[in-house]
């Protein structure tokens, strides 16, 4: 529905944003994100991109596999850690990361920086993604490896499915492996 403006000869016509226009390059755009890592710093990229895609009206599916399983496991999801070990991006001497207490310190510092810019914790973030219409899937093999069932997982995880089921569900999707 479009309401026409009262443009006269001298005035430019109204510009209307095309929010609901179908992108011809990617009609019915879909995004599949595979989260394979459970470090605090590796959990966020997938969650942030999923949230951004949903906000743009893109159908989004997340598949949690291997260490990424920690993101949706009730016992671990609120307690993901960040370690400086093997991470040159901290620009600190590598040996420091191995000292006692360094992982705890780096983790709490990162948590604070994340909270400071009003980015939610991992469980809250999942809640927002689900509320935005995102789909959460758990990897069958990871569940079996860790002897976990749906009871151990975040309530809004839709199901534990095999890798091939995920590939089937996300036919035609753009794919992101993290």
């Amino acid at each position: 529905m479009t309401v026409h403006d009262t443009t006269t000869d001298r005035e430019a016509p109204a510009i209307v944003p095309q929010f609901d226009a179908v992108d011809e390059a990617a009609p019915g755009r879909k995004l599949a994100i595979i989260c394979s890592k459970g470090n605090l710093d590796m959990a966020y990229p997938g969650l942030i991109l999923a949230n951004a895609a949903l906000g743009e009206g893109v159908e989004t599916h997340l598949f949690f596999t291997f260490w990424g399983f920690d993101i949706i496991t009730k016992k671990t999801m609120g307690d993901l850690k960040f370690t400086m070990l093997g991470n040159t991006a901290t620009h600190m001497p590598q040996g420091l990361g191995g000292l006692p207490g360094m992982t705890a310190m780096a983790t709490s510092r990162m948590r604070r920086s994340i909270a400071d810019i009003d980015v939610p914790t991992v469980p809250e973030f999942l809640e927002q993604i689900v509320a935005s219409g995102g789909h959460l899937w758990a990897c069958r093999m990871s569940a079996d490896m860790n002897h976990l069932t749906t009871d151990d997982l975040y309530d809004d995880v839709e199901a534990i499915i095999s890798a091939s089921d995920f590939i089937e569900k996300t036919a035609g999707a753009q794919l992101l492996f993290i």
Binding site: D5, T6, E11, I15, G57, P120
Partner: protein
């Protein structure tokens, strides 16, 4: 920055149609902007729009979806129902504000 007329309102907009001067906005214009993108405003829409306007006046930037849900107390799910597809951008457009820049 194009100046256009929209249903008797003279407004300045950017290339996509977002108002560039929030002061040119009023509630009557909001109804017209909403109609442009296929929305009819209800009280529930107004709650979100009033929050956006008040928050922009304080912060100088458009609230993200998360901010509207946590501080404006409107659940994310409801925002998607009120402004389908692209709620953050649609809300900003109808509220006469720039697109939100935050990532979350």
């Amino acid at each position: 920055m194009p100046e256009t007329m929209l249903d008797g309102h003279r407004i300045h907009v950017d290339a996509e149609g977002f108002l560039t001067d929030p002061a040119e906005w009023d509630e009557e214009l909001a109804d017209v902007l909403a109609a442009q993108i296929g929305l009819t405003l209800t009280d529930a829409h107004w709650k979100a729009l009033h929050f956006l306007r008040a928050d922009f006046a304080q912060q100088g930037e458009t609230a993200t979806l998360r901010r509207v849900s946590t501080l404006g107390a409107i659940p994310v799910k409801e925002l998607f129902a009120l402004f389908p597809g692209k709620p953050a951008k649609k809300m900003a457009y109808v509220a006469g504000l720039p697109k939100p820049h935050g990532c979350v």
